[in-house]
C-alpha cells in the first residue's frame, strides 16, 4: 500500500525577456556556444537557480546511519535546519558516493511522517495521547525500579548469588552511537538487568 505524503511543488516560470540580444542565434554567437547545446540554450530560470549547498550557513561532517560501510556525509545546514546531505569526497571509504538510502537521508531528518512528539498509550486505550517528556521519564523511572524489584533474583536454586533482575529487558543499539551503547550497558548492568540485547545477535 502506498500513501502519498508529499505535495508536488510547482515552480513558477518567469517570462522570457523579449530582446533581440536574446534571439537564439545572437545568444549563441554572444556566448561562444558553438554547438548550441550549452549556455546559449540555458533558460533564465535555470540561470537563476543556485544550489542549496552553495547558500548553506555551514557544512558538518557526518557518517551515514544505514549500513556498516560507513560512508562520509556532508550535512548542509541553513537557518538551523538540514537542507541537504551529500557524500563526502574526502572519505577514503566512500570517495563521495552515497547509495539511495544515504542519498535519501535528508528525508530521514525532515520526513513528513517523522514523529517528534512524546506519545503515551494507557492500558486498554485504543489511541495515543500526548504526554510531557519530563513526566514520561519520571513514569519510566518509577516503572523501571518497580519492575526491577519484582523481577529481582538474589540467588539461584543452589544458593549461588545472582544479584539481578529479570523484570526488565532491552533490544536495540546497532544504529546507536558507541557512547550511547556504553551508557545503556553501564546503567542496566548496575541496575542488575541482564537481558540486554542488540541487532548484532539478529
Amino acid at each position: 500500500m502506498v500513501r502519498n505524503r508529499v505535495r508536488a511543488e510547482v515552480y513558477p516560470v518567469p517570462m522570457t525577456r523579449f530582446s533581440p540580444m536574446e534571439w537564439p542565434v545572437i545568444r549563441q554567437l554572444r556566448t561562444g556556444d558553438r554547438t548550441g547545446r550549452s549556455s546559449a540554450v540555458e533558460s533564465q530560470h535555470t540561470r537563476d537557480l543556485t544550489a542549496r549547498t552553495a547558500t548553506a550557513d555551514r557544512v558538518v561532517q557526518s557518517i551515514c546511519p544505514y549500513c556498516a560501510v560507513g560512508c562520509g556525509q556532508k550535512v548542509y545546514v541553513k537557518d538551523e535546519r538540514v537542507i541537504q546531505i551529500e557524500g563526502d569526497p574526502d572519505s577514503p571509504i566512500s570517495r563521495g558516493r552515497l547509495c539511495p538510502k544515504g542519498s535519501a537521508s535528508e528525508q530521514l531528518v525532515n520526513s513528513p511522517g517523522r514523529q517528534t512528539q512524546m506519545l503515551y498509550r494507557a492500558p486498554g486505550a485504543s489511541e495515543w495521547q500526548p504526554l510531557e517528556l519530563d513526566t514520561a521519564i519520571d513514569m519510566i523511572a518509577d516503572r523501571f525500579l518497580e519492575s526491577r524489584r519484582r523481577g529481582w533474583q538474589d540467588a539461584d536454586e543452589d544458593g549461588r548469588p545472582l544479584r539481578r533482575t529479570m523484570g526488565i529487558a532491552s533490544l536495540g543499539g546497532a544504529t546507536l552511537d558507541n557512547e550511547e551503547n556504553y551508557l545503556i550497558k553501564k546503567l542496566f548492568t548496575a541496575a542488575g538487568a541482564v537481558q540486554i540485547e542488540n541487532q548484532a545477535r539478529i
Binding site: 539511495p100 538510502k101 506519545l119 542488540n198 545477535r201
Partner: protein, 942 residues
C-alpha cells in the same frame, strides 16, 4: 579488497546491500581481479561478477569443505604459512573421534545436555603424553565451557537442560577459549595421523565435486572453475578475499560457515595480508561497535564475558578468561577487567572488594533476545525497551514477537518513526485475526521520539573496525532526544529515587560513576563518554590524563578504561575518531582518517603478511616487515604484533602473555599464537565445520545419518512448529524453500526507510522472486498476488517471475527456492506497508552465538491473496494438520540414535554401557500432543 586478485562473495548480495563498499570490488576487478558470486539468486552482485554459481541455501559448508579437500588433495596449500602460522602440526588427543567416523557426531556428545564434552578435542601436551587430555587442559576450563560444567555433573540427568544453559558459548567473550598450559606436541612434517593436518584431510575427504553437485546443486565444471580461481590466486604473489554477510551467519550452524572459510583461507595463506582475509559485511552503522561496546547479554565492553553464576570470585572470573600460562594479549585480561570496573565504579572499586566485581549481575545461561521473548510470553518480563529496533517485523516469528509484547506491563519504544513494534496493539495482524483485542491489552506504551544521526554527536564503528565520529549539525526537533541524553537522565532520576536506600542491591547504582560534564545546551557531553571509554591514569603524575594504549592498563587500580580495545582513541586528549585528513592526501591505508581498534591497525594479524623471517612474502603483497637495522617491525600499516619481537625469537613454553609470543606467532589474540584450522576449544558444535542440513530441508543430509546440527537451540512449541525434512511424511505439504534478504532501497525492518517517500516510491511493495518454472508449476501470474504458507504463518506477496531464480537439482529432486525481501510490515503509519517475511520463520538458533536461522525455511506457494481475519490462521492450521505437524516434528536432536551414538567409543567408555543406552534419547517418551506455551526452560532442550 581492492588489492585482491580474486574475490568470492558468498552469503552476501554486496552490490545491493553495501553498494558504496562494492566500489572496491569493482576497483579490484578493474585491476584485473576475478569476482565470483555464490548465491541462491542471480542478483546485482552476480550481474557484475565474472561468474555466478547458484547454490542451495544452507549447503555452503559442503562447497567450502570441497575447496579445502581440493587444496589438500592437490597439494595446493601454502606450505610455509601453514606450517609456521597455523596449528596444522599440533597433535590432537587420541580420544578424538571425527564426525566422519560417528555418522555426523564428534566424540564427546552428551545426549542429556545436547552439547559436547570438549576434552577429547584437546591438544596433546607433553605432560599428557598424548594419552589423557583430561589433565591440565580441561582443568583450565573451569567455569568456562561445556567441558567443565557438563562433565562435572554429567550423571545428574535431570539437570541436563540447566547444564546446557550454563555451558553456553555465550561465556567465552571474543578471546575464545584458552588452551591449557604445557608444551603442545607438534609434528612439523605433518605426517602423524593425529596431526590437525591429517585429521583435516580425513574429515573433508568425502567433500568432493560430486558431493557438491549432490548437495549444493553446483555442477562439477562450475566447482572446478571456482577451485581453480581461488587456488591460482593465492600464494606469495597473489591473494584471494572472501566476503560474506548474514547469508552465512543466519543459520543453525552460522558460526561454522565462517570457520570453514577461515580454514580455507589459512590453508591458502590469505589471512593478515593485503587483498586477503574474510570480509564480514555488517548491516548497521555501528553493529560492529555494538559488539565491541556491547548491548548484549553475554558480553561486557571489549569482549570481556559477563560473569557466570559459577564465577563467584573475581579470580574465578579472570581465570575463566585466560590462563596465566597462555600466550598473547588475552593473558592480560585481568587488567582489562579491572580497568572496566574502575571506570564504572571509580573509588568504590578497590582491591579489597575485588574491584566491585560483585556489583555485576550473574548470568546462568542464554538470556538472548529469543529466550527473553519466551520469558515475556510467560509474563516474567514486565518492561521492555526498544531502541531503534522493530522486532515485530525484523525478528523471527513475528507473531510470537507481537504476542510476547502484549504480555508486557510497559513498553518503551524509542524511534524516529511510528514503527510496527509501537502500534501492534491497534493495527497488528493479531488484531486483524481477532487473537488480540485492543481494549484487552494492558500494556502501557511510551513512544519516545529519537534524535537522528545529524542531531547528536557520537561515534559509529563500521564494518572494518574503523571508529568514525559524527558532529552534531542541528538540535533534535520537538521532544526528540538522543539515547545518550535519555539514558543519562533516566539514570539520574533512578539514582535520585534510591539516594536514601540502604539496600545493598542499590549500591551498584549509587556508586556508579555518573557525573558527566554537560555541554552548552546543558546536555551530557559525548566526548566525555568517549574519554571514559578510552581510559585514564587514576594516580601518579599523569593522573587524569588519557591512556594512549591498552598496554598502559594495569591491574592495580592505577588506571581505568571502559573498553580496553578502544584505548588510544582519545590519546593526548585528541578525539581520533574525528580525524579527517582527506583520503586523497594519504596512501591506501589512510591511517589518518578516523581510528581503527586496536591501536589504529587497519589489517588484523598483519604479521602474517611477512614470511617467518620477517620478509614480505612478495614485493607485490608487502604490508609490514621486520627491519633488521632498527630491529623493529615496520611497514605501511601499524604492525599488529609486538613491535620489537625478532622473527627468530622463541620464548619457552613457560613464558606467558605478549612476551610468550614467538617471532612466528602472528595470531596474537590466540592462546597459542597460531591460526586455528582445528578448534580444540571455543566452538560448541564441533572442532571442525561439518555439514548439517538446515532446520527445515527438502533433502536428507547426503553426508551423515545426522540430519541437523545436533546442538542447535530449539523451541518446540505450538506457535513455533517446524516442517519435516528429507523424505519424512508431510514434507510434500511444504515442498519449496524460501530465503530472505534485503534490497538497496530499504533498510532492515523498514524503520528508517518505509517512512521516507523517496525510498518508498523506489520499492513500494512486498514481493517474491520465483523462477518461470515454479510460476508455471503453480499457475502464478507475473505481478499478480501469491500466498506463501509456512508452518508458522501465511503472507501475501506480489509475484516477480524471473530467471534470476534457478531451480536446482539436488539429490535427484528439483528444488525450487523462493526469494523474499523482509523489509515490509503490517501497520498503518508507514508510507508503504505489507506482510512481513519474518512471520514465516520459526525460531531455531545457532548454539555458539544464539543467532536465528533466517535464511532457509519450507513453504508452499499458491495463487491469490491470503484469507482475511481469523481465516488466515485457519489456513495455516489446515496446512499443519495436512502435514501432520506436532511440536516434536523436526525437533529430534539425534536423527538416528542407534547408528550414531553406538559408535562413540569415548561415550561407551565413560558410561560403561555400549548396548543398553538407558540414557539415550527416546522419541517415544514425548507425547505428541504437548500443550503449547510450556515454560521455555523445560522446552528449550529435548
Amino acid at each position: 579488497m581492492a588489492n585482491a586478485d580474486c574475490i568470492v562473495i558468498q552469503g552476501s548480495n554486496m552490490a545491493e546491500c553495501h553498494p558504496v563498499g562494492f566500489q572496491w570490488v569493482t576497483e579490484a576487478k578493474a585491476r584485473g581481479a576475478r569476482v565470483i558470486h555464490v548465491d541462491p539468486r542471480f542478483t546485482r552482485t552476480s550481474a557484475v561478477a565474472d561468474k555466478h554459481l547458484p547454490i542451495r541455501a544452507g549447503s555452503d559448508i559442503v562447497l567450502l569443505g570441497a575447496l579445502i579437500n581440493h587444496v589438500l588433495s592437490n597439494d595446493l596449500w601454502f606450505h610455509d604459512y601453514v606450517v609456521n602460522y597455523t596449528n596444522a602440526s599440533n597433535l590432537i588427543s587420541e580420544d578424538f573421534e571425527d564426525a566422519e567416523d560417528l555418522d555426523g557426531l564428534f566424540s564427546g556428545y552428551d545426549e542429556e545436555s545436547g552439547g559436547y564434552h570438549l576434552k577429547s578435542w584437546a591438544y596433546q601436551t607433553e605432560d599428557s603424553e598424548g594419552q589423557d587430555s583430561r589433565g591440565e587442559a580441561s582443568d583450565d576450563a573451569a567455569g568456562r565451557g561445556v567441558d567443565n560444567h557438563v562433565f562435572g555433573v554429567e550423571h545428574e540427568h535431570a539437570k541436563g537442560a540447566k547444564q546446557r544453559a550454563e555451558a553456553g558459548g555465550d561465556k567465552f567473550g571474543s578471546g575464545g577459549a584458552p588452551v591449557g598450559g604445557g608444551a603442545s606436541v607438534r609434528d612439523e612434517t605433518l605426517q602423524h595421523p593425529r596431526t590437525v593436518f591429517q585429521i583435516l584431510r580425513r574429515h573433508y575427504a568425502r567433500y568432493t565435486p560430486q558431493m557438491v553437485r549432490e548437495a549444493c546443486g553446483i555442477s562439477e565444471a562450475d566447482f572446478e572453475y571456482l577451485a581453480r580461481s581461488v587456488t591460482e590466486n593465492s600464494g606469495r604473489d597473489r591473494t584471494t578475499c572472501f566476503a560474506y554477510a548474514v547469508g552465512w551467519t543466519q543459520h543453525t550452524l552460522g558460526a561454522q560457515f565462517i570457520r570453514t572459510a577461515s580454514i580455507l583461507q589459512l590453508l591458502l595463506g590469505n589471512m593478515g595480508r593485503p587483498g586477503g582475509g574474510i570480509m564480514a559485511l555488517r548491516g548497521h552503522a555501528t553493529i560492529q561497535g555494538s559488539t565491541d561496546i556491547p548491548t548484549l547479554f553475554n558480553l561486557l565492553p571489549g569482549y570481556l564475558p559477563m560473569p557466570s553464576v559459577t564465577q563467584q570470585s573475581f579470580s574465578d572470573y579472570v581465570d575463566g578468561i585466560r590462563t596465566t600460562e597462555q600466550k598473547g594479549y588475552w593473558a592480560n585480561a585481568e587488567a582489562y577487567a579491572v580497568n572496566l570496573l574502575k571506570a564504572w565504579w571509580g573509588d568504590a572499586a578497590t582491591a579489597e572488594n575485588e574491584w566491585a566485581y560483585d556489583y555485576i549481575p550473574r548470568i546462568n545461561g542464554a538470556h538472548g533476545t529469543y529466550q527473553t521473548l519466551m520469558a515475556m510470553l510467560e509474563d516474567k518480563v514486565e518492561g521492555y525497551f526498544l531502541l531503534g529496533q522493530n522486532p515485530a517485523v525484523g525478528s523471527a516469528n513475528g507473531r510470537m514477537q507481537r504476542l510476547g509484547m502484549s504480555h508486557l506491563k510497559w513498553l518503551v519504544v524509542r524511534d524516529l518513526n511510528m514503527i510496527e513494534s509501537a502500534t501492534w496493539w491497534k493495527d497488528g495482524p493479531e488484531i486483524a485475526s481477532g487473537e488480540l483485542k485492543t481494549e484487552d491489552i494492558q500494556t502501557e506504551v511510551f513512544f519516545m521520539p529519537a534524535a537522528t544521526h545529524v542531531e547528536k554527536s557520537g561515534s559509529f564503528t563500521q564494518t572494518q573496525r574503523l571508529v568514525q565520529w559524527r558532529h552534531q549539525a542541528v538540535a533534535p526537533p520537538g521532544d526528540a532526544q538522543s539515547e545518550l541524553e535519555f539514558f543519562f537522565e533516566l539514570g539520574k532520576r533512578i539514582r535520585q529515587r534510591l539516594a536514601d536506600s540502604e539496600d545493598p542491591r542499590d549500591r551498584p547504582l549509587l556508586d556508579l560513576t555518573w557525573d558527566y560534564p554537560l555541554d552548552e545546551q546543558g546536555e551530557i557531553d559525548p566526548v566525555s563518554v568517549l574519554a571514559e571509554i578510552n581510559g585514564r591514569f587514576e594516580t601518579g603524575e599523569n593522573a587524569g590524563e588519557p591512556l594512549s594504549s591498552y598496554g598502559q592498563m594495569t591491574a592495580d587500580g592505577s588506571t581505568s578504561g571502559g573498553c580496553w580495545i578502544y584505548a588510544g582513541i582519545y590519546a593526548d586528549r585528541v578525539n581520533r575518531a574525528a580525524m579527517r585528513v582527506p583520503g586523497w592526501q594519504q596512501d591506501e591505508i589512510a591511517s589518518q582518517w578516523a581510528w581503527a581498534w586496536p591501536a589504529n591497525r587497519r589489517i588484523l594479524y598483519n604479521r602474517a603478511s611477512a614470511d617467518p623471517q620477517g620478509r614480505p612474502w612478495s614485493e607485490r603483497k608487502k604490508l609490514v616487515w621486520w627491519d633488521e637495522e632498527s630491529r623493529r617491525w615496520t611497514g605501511k600499516d601499524n604492525p599488529d604484533f609486538p613491535v620489537d619481537r625478532d622473527p627468530s625469537a622463541r620464548p619457552g613454553p613457560d613464558v606467558a602473555g605478549p612476551d610468550g609470543l614467538a617471532g612466528n606467532d602472528p595470531f596474537i589474540m590466540q592462546a597459542d599464537g597460531k591460526g586455528w584450522l582445528f578448534a580444540p576449544k571455543g566452538m560448541l558444535d564441533g572442532p571442525l565445520p561439518t555439514h548439517y542440513e538446515p532446520q527445515e530441508s527438502p533433502v536428507a543430509n547426503p553426508l551423515y545419518a545426522q540430519q541437523q546440527n545436533p546442538t542447535r537451540v530449539m523451541f518446540p512449541r505450538e506457535d513455533n512448529l517446524s516442517a519435516a525434512s528429507g523424505d519424512a511424511p508431510g514434507t510434500d505439504v511444504y515442498p519449496f524453500m524460501f530465503t530472505t534478504y534485503r534490497l538497496t532501497e530499504h533498510h532492515t525492518a523498514g524503520g528508517m526507510s518505509r517512512w521516507l517517500p523517496y525510498l518508498s516510491e523506489l520499492q513500494p511493495e512486498m514481493f517474491c522472486e520465483i523462477s518461470p518454472e515454479l510460476a508455471q508449476l503453480k499457475g502464478l501470474e507475473p505481478y499478480g498476488w501469491a500466498t506463501i504458507v509456512s508452518p508458522r504463518s501465511a503472507i501475501e506477496v506480489k509475484v516477480l517471475v524471473t530467471d534470476r531464480m534457478t531451480p536446482l537439482t539436488v539429490a535427484g529432486k528439483t528444488i525450487h527456492q523462493i526469494g523474499l525481501p523482509y523489509h515490509w510490515g503490517a501497520g498503518t503509519d508507514a508510507v508503504v506497508t505489507g506482510d512481513g517475511a519474518n512471520d514465516l520463520l520459526g525460531i531455531t538458533l545457532d548454539p555458539n552465538v544464539q543467532i536465528q536461522n533466517f535464511k532457509t525455511g519450507s513453504c508452499d506457494i499458491l495463487p491469490g491473496r491470503r484469507p482475511r481475519g481469523a481465516q488466515r490462521n485457519e489456513l495455516v492450521r489446515e496446512y499443519q494438520q495436512r502435514a501432520g505437524l506436532t511440536v516434536r516434528t523436526g525437533m529430534d536432536r539425534i536423527t538416528d540414535p542407534e547408528r550414531e551414538l553406538n559408535q562413540d567409543p569415548l561415550r561407551a567408555r565413560d558410561s560403561g554401557d555400549t548396548a543398553g543406552r538407558s540414557t539415550a534419547y527416546h522419541p517415544g517418551e514425548h507425547p505428541e500432543d504437548q500443550p503449547a506455551n510450556r515454560p521455555a526452560d523445560q522446552e528449550e532442550d529435548t
